[in-house]
C-alpha cells in the first residue's frame, strides 16, 4: 500500500478517474463554446454551460515548466527525492495543462521537452504520469 496520496473521486471527478483505470485520459469539452476543461467540473468555466462531451487526449504533451523536488512535502515522498514535478501542456490543440511527475533522471528534463503519458498504479487507482518521448 502506498502512503502517497491517492485521489478521492468526487461526483464531478468519478468518471475521469474511472477512465484512468482504463488508461485513458479524458477531458470535458463544452458543447456550447468548445472549451476543453480540466479538472472536471459541473459547469464550463468559460461560459457556465453544463453539457459536455468526453474527449480522450492522445497523451502527448510538452513540458511547460518543471521543478526537481529535493525536500519532500511528506514522508511518503522522501524515498523518491530528487524527483520531477512538471506542468505539461497536452497535445497540439488543447489548452489543457496537467501537473504530474516526469519519470526520468532529473538532469535529463528541460522546458520544452516532448513527453508521453504513462500510468502508475497506486492502491488500485491508475494515476497518469509522464516519461520523456523517444
Amino acid at each position: 500500500m502506498s502512503d502517497k496520496p491517492v485521489p478521492t473521486p468526487s461526483e464531478d471527478t468519478a468518471r475521469f478517474w474511472e477512465a484512468c483505470n482504463e488508461d485513458r485520459f479524458v477531458v470535458q469539452r463544452c458543447t456550447d463554446c468548445g472549451t476543453e476543461r480540466f479538472y472536471p467540473a459541473a459547469a464550463c468555466p468559460n461560459c457556465w454551460h453544463t453539457d459536455f462531451e468526453e474527449v480522450e487526449l492522445d497523451g502527448t504533451g510538452t513540458v511547460e515548466s518543471f521543478t526537481v523536488v529535493h525536500r519532500a512535502p511528506t514522508e511518503a515522498f522522501e524515498a523518491d527525492t530528487p524527483y520531477v514535478v512538471a506542468l505539461v501542456t497536452m497535445g497540439a490543440e488543447t489548452d489543457v495543462t496537467v501537473m504530474a511527475n516526469v519519470l526520468a533522471d532529473p538532469g535529463d528534463v528541460s522546458v520544452g521537452d516532448s513527453v508521453t503519458m504513462t500510468w502508475e498504479e497506486r492502491d488500485g487507482q491508475q494515476l497518469y504520469q509522464f516519461e520523456l518521448a523517444e
Binding site: S65, F66, H70, R71, V98, A100, R122
Partner: protein
C-alpha cells in the same frame, strides 16, 4: 460611485516574532492589535471595525468574532478573511471601503499565526504543503509549496534567461536590510554564494530563497479622515486595488503573469500615481521569484527584466528602488503583514537605519501561488 473621502493608516503594531512557544495564535493576534491601537493614539472604544485572518494551528469557524470577543470589542464591521498571504492587504482594502461607506471609523486589520512552534514537528511542513495544491490533481504528485513557485521561477529562467544569481540577489537584499536594522528572525548578512550553497528545496529555489516560518502577528489601524485627525502619525492610503486569479498553478493561463497587473493598475489609478513615483516598495517575498515577478507585473520594469532590474538597478537602500526595507519574509518574519507596517514607517520617517527619502510607498501582498494580489499605496497625510 462610492465616497472618495480620505482614509489613513493610523496605527501599526506587532507581536514578538520568531519562536514564541508561550504565546498561542489568538494571543499573538491580540498583542499586535493592542500595540497598533496604542501606536495610533486611539482607545479601545474608538475601534468599531475588525478584520482578521485565520490560523492553521488553531482554526476557528469565526476567527474575527473570536478575536473581538477576546479583546472585548464592539463592532459595526467584522470580517474573517482567508486569502492566504494576501489576507491583510485585502483586509486594508476592505476596511477602507467600509470606512468610505460610512459603516465604521477605525478598523483594525490583524494577521499572524504560531506556525513555527504551534505545530508538532513534521506536521508543520505537511500542513503547509497540502494547504495550497489541488488535493486530486496536484498533491498526488508530491509538490510542496516551494515547488509551485519553483515552476514559475523555472519558466522565467527558460523564457527570459533569468539567472540563479539574480534570484539569489533578492534574498541577499532582504537580509542586508534586516541586518542594517538589527531586528528580525535572521539578521546575519549573506552573499549570493551563501544562497546558492544553502541547498535546493525545489529547483531552482534554495533554502535561503524560501520564506521563514515564524510565530508572529502584525496589525494595522485604518481610519476615516475625521478619526485620523486625533491620531499620532497618520499616513494617507492614497490608492489600493485587488486582483484575483487561479488558486491552482496548473490552471494558470500564463505562468509568467500574475493578477498583480490588475491590483497595481487599480491602485495607481486611484492614487493618480505611476510606478515611477514610488520611492520604496515592500513586495511580498514568500520566495525569491515573487518580488522579481512583482517588479514586472506592477510596472517597475518590462516583463522579463526583473532579473536585470535587481542586478543592475538594485533593490537595496542604495539602489534605484529599495525593496523590503525591513527584511521581508525572507529575513524579518514569515508573514506578509509586516510589509504594510513597513510602508507606513517609511512614510512616517520611522524606518531607522533603512529609512529612505519617501514620498510614495507601495506594499503588495500575495496569496496562493501569485493567485490573489492586493496593492496599497501610501503617502504623507
Amino acid at each position: 460611485m462610492g465616497s472618495t473621502q480620505r482614509v489613513a493608516v493610523t496605527g501599526i503594531g506587532e507581536s514578538p516574532i520568531g519562536s514564541t512557544p508561550d504565546m498561542d495564535s489568538i494571543n499573538l493576534y491580540a498583542t499586535a492589535c493592542l500595540e497598533a491601537v496604542d501606536d495610533a493614539g486611539l482607545e479601545k472604544d474608538d475601534i468599531d471595525g475588525l478584520v482578521t485572518g485565520y490560523s492553521l494551528v488553531d482554526p476557528k469557524l469565526m476567527h474575527s468574532t473570536v478575536v473581538a470577543d477576546y479583546l472585548g470589542l464592539n463592532l459595526s464591521y467584522n470580517e474573517s478573511l482567508r486569502l492566504g498571504g494576501a489576507t491583510p492587504f485585502v483586509g486594508v482594502c476592505h476596511a477602507a471601503n467600509a470606512i468610505r461607506q460610512g459603516q465604521c471609523e477605525n478598523v483594525v486589520i490583524a494577521f499572524g499565526d504560531n506556525r513555527r512552534t504551534g505545530f508538532s514537528k513534521g506536521d508543520g511542513v505537511s500542513n503547509l504543503a497540502t494547504e495550497v495544491g489541488h488535493p486530486e490533481f496536484e498533491n498526488p504528485f508530491g509538490p510542496m509549496v516551494p515547488s509551485l513557485y519553483a515552476l514559475i521561477a523555472r519558466k522565467h529562467m527558460a523564457e527570459y534567461g533569468t539567472t540563479a544569481e539574480e534570484l539569489a540577489t533578492v534574498s541577499v537584499a532582504c537580509r542586508e536590510h534586516a541586518s542594517m536594522r538589527g531586528k528580525g528572525q535572521q539578521t546575519d548578512p549573506i552573499e549570493v554564494e551563501d544562497v546558492l550553497s544553502s541547498g535546493l528545496i525545489s529547483s531552482p529555489l534554495h533554502k535561503l530563497e524560501c520564506a521563514l516560518i515564524s510565530d508572529c502577528a502584525g496589525a494595522v489601524v485604518v481610519s476615516s479622515a475625521d478619526a485620523a485627525a486625533d491620531t499620532r502619525a497618520p499616513v494617507e492610503l492614497t490608492g489600493y486595488g485587488e486582483g484575483h486569479g487561479s488558486e491552482y498553478i496548473h490552471r494558470r493561463n500564463d505562468l509568467l503573469y500574475s493578477p498583480a497587473v490588475e491590483s497595481g493598475s487599480t491602485a495607481f489609478e486611484m492614487a493618480d500615481r505611476t510606478p515611477d513615483d514610488v520611492d520604496v516598495a515592500q513586495l511580498y517575498d514568500c520566495f525569491s521569484i515573487t518580488p522579481l515577478m512583482l517588479l514586472e507585473d506592477l510596472g517597475f520594469c518590462e516583463k522579463g527584466e526583473g532579473g536585470s532590474f535587481v542586478r543592475e538597478r538594485g533593490i537595496t537602500v542604495d539602489g534605484d528602488l529599495p525593496v523590503n526595507t525591513h527584511g521581508g519574509e525572507l529575513s524579518y518574519a514569515g508573514a506578509g503583514v509586516f510589509h504594510i507596517l513597513e510602508a507606513a514607517r517609511q512614510i512616517r520617517g520611522e524606518a531607522a537605519e533603512t529609512q529612505v527619502e519617501t514620498d510614495v510607498a507601495l506594499a503588495h501582498g500575495v496569496g496562493g501561488v501569485l493567485s490573489t494580489n492586493a496593492t496599497l499605496l501610501m503617502e504623507a497625510w
